[in-house]
Symmetry: C2
Subunit: 432 residues, 2 copies
């Protein structure tokens, strides 16, 4: 007996069915916005991730040397791949480029509740627009996708910020601040103890007093106050951009899901503008459900023409936690329209009925194992069959079959030639 | 600029759209038969493949040692994984177990026309029935799936055989035959020169004369002749089983797609009963499109209770070649219901219209880049928008918008409050 690899999952039909409903909804929403599906490879050159994220990323990668001597990595995220694809066809692709896809990614990380080494994401990106409407469309898409799953403004919120607000505020202190370090500290603000957080800020270059002043600024509701505090064009522009994005989000009907939250810094370094994270409003799912933002420099960094970009990666693991918490996780039971039960030498008729029901688009199972009446009924029960069509030798001698509604247990004889007849999806009620 | 890894593919939206239509059809057909979707991991223990296929398989694997010291392989096929999953929940799963899934697999092979190192398959399997109805259901499913793609009996055929017919015939020769070698030779019958083929048979232990006699038998239409020639119970049973399967296929309406073809041996060693391959009827796609068969011993070999099984792996690469050859490959152009074009300060109205059209399930794009009227029209053209809704400042001053049908070029003014109004998918024709 073989063991599944740690951090990887098998999805049996019930759970898979629920996951499929969720994936279909996320993708249908993306299609409505005119995002187009793409397909992407599982392996990429390892250097692509090292160049983007630094040598330390290798510790998290499933990377190896292939039989042709190539250093390859199982993709830990989609963004570098789509950036490569945009660069490869930069001339032919009409802008904006709007892509989505759903697939697994891999990181060699500590396995814990809701975090796996193989994890699934739906990625949605816009390339070629620097305007607030593009950021807004990503946010509105996320709101539509989550609403489509049955989640409401009571269930989730998008915490929205702009990387230059934090960066600009830090710059305005009379101190030699390591901006990256300080932003990473902010990203940990809710995750670590207050003293540890302040220690991280002072390590990044702020004095204790400055750290407290900076921290107080993060809680303000008044963006103008920040502009005034910093007194720089950088912060002024960032605040104006954030406000423009939120206004465009308002036009798209998704403003109610968004709150400004300056501590939303996102761990990743390549964001250049608006950033956001989705959180469970109740706090029960404590980590961010997913996140995204603007990354205007990546395509150029990959050797392409300067191409602004904004996108989101919806991680299915935390999203499913949110759905379960909110009571909207789809039903995991199987759905079967018909079980065609045969008794005795009746296969041609049973097969004809199964075939015609399938041609009408129904989910139909029939006996594959030559089992008894009772065993077939038990199986029909186990697959949640709505209707059982009994094709028995004695009934057939009278040119009849029996149609049984499994919920009520009621059954009736039906002329064999009348089934399924004109009906698309005949049930007991059509013949009683 | 980074290079894509050799043998791996990027799918841009046009090709991906056609592939998605194909995948959806293959999966919808599987669902109608009551096959249930499962999700499976990308990595498995390398030894799982070595135990099943021998040490030489490693040369074809993307295998490596992970950071935890595990010898892992990117799955080269699905069957061992589903066998592992069946064994892991053998007690809970009600039989027959009917599963399907679509995903990529990986083999380090020579890259050539229609063969890639990353390749996609839809796998469909039944576990727990040894009866001919199960084999027949797999064949009927394949026929339905291909018919659903628009392929007909003119386009493809299933060449069906039984592993024990070949094995039994070989056994009946007065010679010390290496059955595996001989069956592999038969599998190459159409692929290599006649002299080479005969050499392979003699290497396997047949005399020259026996090889010719054996070869002549393969072309017979009369299965009874084989039973008589061999004179063994093994061949008699195999022929009877094959005939029973074809009879059950007849009941399911798929007999017309099947021909008996003894040379269909399948390269893989684990088949135990009926085997089949799908071929292009015109021969233009020269290699088999896909294949499958019965493998009754695998689950037991994986440490489970004896569990008969039959399945098929539909490879998308050769299937797409067949679809293209037959002229039924889906349209690769994008589909867009609406482009909402805005001119001047009209974003709230344009956004409201886009939102309401999306709520009705339509594919809607709108300006994300603050572009000119002309640039927006060109973009609407490039995404094959069916209808352009023009929201202009001057029109809006009269509480009007303009609805333009892109095929005809005709346009008309519509009261802004009447759009989309009661309509699910309003076009120019609704307002002219």
């Amino acid at each position: 007996m073989y063991e599944r690899i740690k951090g990887f999952r098998d999805f049996y039909p019930g759970e898979m069915r629920a996951r499929r409903v969720v994936i279909d909804e996320l993708e249908a929403a993306a299609r409505r916005y005119g995002f187009r599906e793409i397909g992407t490879p599982t392996l990429e050159p390892t250097e692509m991730y090292v160049d983007k994220s630094g040598e330390e990323i290798v510790d998290e990668l499933y990377s190896f040397t292939d039989r042709g001597g190539r250093d390859v990595a199982m993709t830990p995220e989609l963004t570098p791949t789509v950036a490569r694809m945009v660069v490869a066809k930069q001339q032919e692709l009409s802008k904006p480029i709007k892509w989505f896809s759903t697939r697994p990614f891999w990181r060699y990380e500590q396995v814990q509740q809701g975090r796996f080494r193989e994890f699934y994401q739906t990625n949605v990106d816009v390339f070629g627009s620097a305007e607030p409407e593009a950021d807004a469309e990503i946010l509105a898409y996320c709101a539509d996708a989550l609403s489509g799953l049955g989640l409401t403004a009571e269930d989730f919120e998008f915490r929205v910020s702009h990387r230059d607000i934090l960066g600009g505020l830090l710059e305005s202190f009379d101190a030699d601040v390591e901006t990256r370090e300080a932003i990473r500290a902010v990203d940990k603000r809710e995750k670590v103890k207050r003293t540890e957080y302040h220690a991280l800020l002072t390590e990044a270059g702020l004095s204790r007093e400055q750290a407290e002043e900076f921290d107080a600024l993060l809680d303000t509701d008044d963006l103008d106050e920040l502009v005034e505090f910093a007194g720089t064009e950088r912060v002024e522009r960032a605040v104006a951009n954030l406000e423009n994005v939120l206004e465009a989000v308002e036009d798209l009907g998704a403003r109610e899901f968004c709150s400004v939250s300056l501590e939303t810094a996102r761990g990743l370094d390549y964001y250049t503008g608006v950033v956001f994270e989705c959180f469970d409003s109740t706090g029960e799912v404590s980590r961010s459900v997913f996140g995204g933002g603007r990354y205007d420099d990546l395509i150029e960094g990959f050797g392409g023409q300067p191409t602004p970009a904004v996108g989101v990666a919806l991680g299915h693991a935390t999203l499913s936690e949110l759905c379960r918490r909110a009571g909207v996780w789809p039903d995991e039971s199987l759905e079967t329209d018909y079980y065609v039960l045969r008794v005795g030498d009746t296969r041609p008729v049973a097969a004809r009925i199964a075939r015609e029901l399938r041609e009408r688009g129904n989910v139909v199972e029939t006996d594959l194992s030559g089992r008894s009446f009772g065993a077939q009924m038990n199986y029909a029960d186990s697959i949640d069959a709505e209707t059982v069509v009994i094709v028995g030798e004695r009934d057939l001698a009278n040119d009849e079959i029996t149609v049984k509604g499994m919920a009520s247990g009621e059954q009736t004889a039906v002329p064999v030639d009348a089934f399924p007849g004109e009906f698309e999806r005949p049930t007991y009620d059509d013949f009683e």
